[in-house]
């Protein structure tokens, strides 16, 4: 629950980071689900599912890290087995898979790295 609450609080903070116009920011903070028009909630859900789907690899990576931190037995066992040639093989397979997925799934819109603006 602590992880969930922290995640929610951190996510909410990104509104302040993303919206640079004070007037819009004020307007957004006053928005309420009570005035949502028909169909708009479904659009919001659509955007959420779309973003969550593209973010799936990050969720998987984070869950693996969480399991490692909490020393979940299967994860610890698997990591102890990944040494030497076996590790090299897994790394090679991983790189191949990532390269293929990148070529196939890369966005048609190329965006600058966000932190280049800082």
């Amino acid at each position: 629950m602590q992880v969930g609450l922290t995640w929610t609080a951190m996510m909410a903070g990104w509104l302040f980071f993303r919206e640079t116009d004070a007037e819009y920011l004020g307007h957004f903070l006053r928005l309420s689900p009570a005035v949502t028009m028909e169909g708009e909630a479904a659009i919001g859900l659509h955007f959420f599912v779309l973003a969550a789907t593209w973010s799936l690899p990050l969720f998987v990576h984070d869950l693996w890290a969480l399991a490692r931190e909490r020393q979940v037995a299967p994860v610890a066992w698997l990591e102890s087995r990944l040494t030497g040639l076996r590790l090299a093989g897994v790394q090679a397979a991983g790189v191949g898979l990532l390269a293929t997925l990148t070529l196939v799934l890369r966005s048609t819109t190329s965006l600058d790295f966000i932190y280049f603006a800082f």
Partner: protein, 363 residues
């Protein structure tokens, strides 16, 4: 030059091929030249700005050691030049516009000139990195360097130049000065890091970014649409920024360097304090060591400690951009960290998250 471009791929291939055929000293010279080419690829004059910072900090470090009675003045010179450059290129227009607005609110109409000048890429990163050197020399925590090539390379090292991780001199400068040997295990792990970074950037960040941009381009989104967009941006910025750090670390490994871990799965943090031990670690530890602790840290009365904490977060927010929304963002996080710590102490809860600082730690 951006990482995911053919220009960079060709540049990297040429540099790394020549690099491992050279002795140590020549390697540093090659990397320095390559870093200046990398940085000046689009705007060559950016290199002059970085050279100015490098020259002043190199000189200041030596003067502090040779004339310790006046070391405060040399530190002040370093601070003035580095923060002055930031002030001019990044914050000048912000201050001028706010002064204009305040004067306008009280009846004085002014039209001050604004600077129309590109923000040198990475200036917020390499100035902080260079300042960490001069402050550490001032405090006597490290010796001033007498080799201009090594020092210039410490400032300009291209893999992390534009967006971090911010490296401390006691970490990166030491690696610059030490001979490096080819390590196939390190190189292999570097390839994995680069590939993972490219995947996060080109597949995750850019696709999720399209969703976020669509939402934030609307002037009146519905509540559910807005917060879906906020979620999308939260994932975009994590994927985007951690991707850069991973690619930087992977590329650096191919030259025998180890850069610090900059993101440690921040979205599994168990508290706001834990989040800041995992998010942009090199920056948060920089602010902890060079702003928060010198201001007093958590010592003194509770109100003073709270003000110190929130001030540090305000400054950290402002570092991100010349706009009030970043200050509000910093304030939001400062209040969150302070309030959760206070409540935690009041309830005598055990410290959450990983207690060990990750300052300068390499994976």
């Amino acid at each position: 030059m951006i990482f995911h471009s053919l220009d960079f791929a060709a540049f990297f291939a040429i540099v790394v091929t020549i690099y491992w055929r050279l002795p140590h000293r020549a390697q540093n010279l090659l990397l320095l030249a390559a870093s200046y080419v990398f940085y000046g690829w689009v705007h060559p004059w950016f290199v002059l700005i970085m050279l100015a910072s490098t020259t002043v900090d190199y000189w200041a470090g030596q003067r502090m050691e040779d004339d310790p009675a006046r070391r405060g003045r040399y530190l002040a010179a370093s601070l003035a030049v580095n923060l002055g450059m930031l002030g001019v290129f990044k914050y000048f227009n912000f201050f001028v516009e706010n002064v204009r607005d305040v004067l306008g609110a009280v009846g004085f109409t002014v039209a001050p000139p604004l600077l129309e000048i590109a923000l040198p890429a990475g200036i917020s990163f390499y100035t902080f990195q260079a300042l960490s050197y001069t402050v550490d020399v001032y405090k006597g925590e490290m010796h001033a360097r007498r080799d201009p090539i090594d020092f210039a390379l410490f400032v300009a090292f291209f893999p992390h130049l534009v967006a971090g991780p911010i490296m401390r001199a006691r970490n990166l400068l030491v690696q610059v000065e030490r001979p490096r040997t080819w390590n196939p295990t390190l190189a292999r792990s570097g390839v994995v890091l680069v590939m993972w970074g490219l995947f996060k950037k080109l597949v995750v960040a850019d696709n999720v970014g399209v969703v976020a941009n669509r939402v934030f381009s609307q002037s009146d989104p519905a509540f559910e649409v807005l917060w879906a967009g906020v979620f999308a941006f939260g994932m975009q910025i994590y994927a985007d920024f951690s991707a850069y750090s991973d690619i930087a670390r992977g590329v650096a490994r191919w030259f025998g360097f180890e850069l610090v871990v900059n993101f440690d799965h921040p979205y599994i943090a168990s508290s706001p304090t834990d989040f800041w031990r995992r998010w942009h670690i090199s920056l948060s530890t920089w602010f902890r060591d060079y702003v928060y602790i010198p201001l007093g840290g958590n010592r003194g009365p509770a109100l003073v400690a709270a003000c110190t904490l929130i001030t540090t977060f305000l400054v950290s927010g402002f570092w991100h951009g010349a706009n009030w929304n970043y200050v509000i963002w910093g304030f939001y996080h400062g209040v969150l960290v302070w309030s959760t710590r206070t409540v935690g102490r009041a309830l005598s809860l055990p410290a959450t998250g990983r207690g060990r600082s990750r300052s300068c730690r390499s994976a």
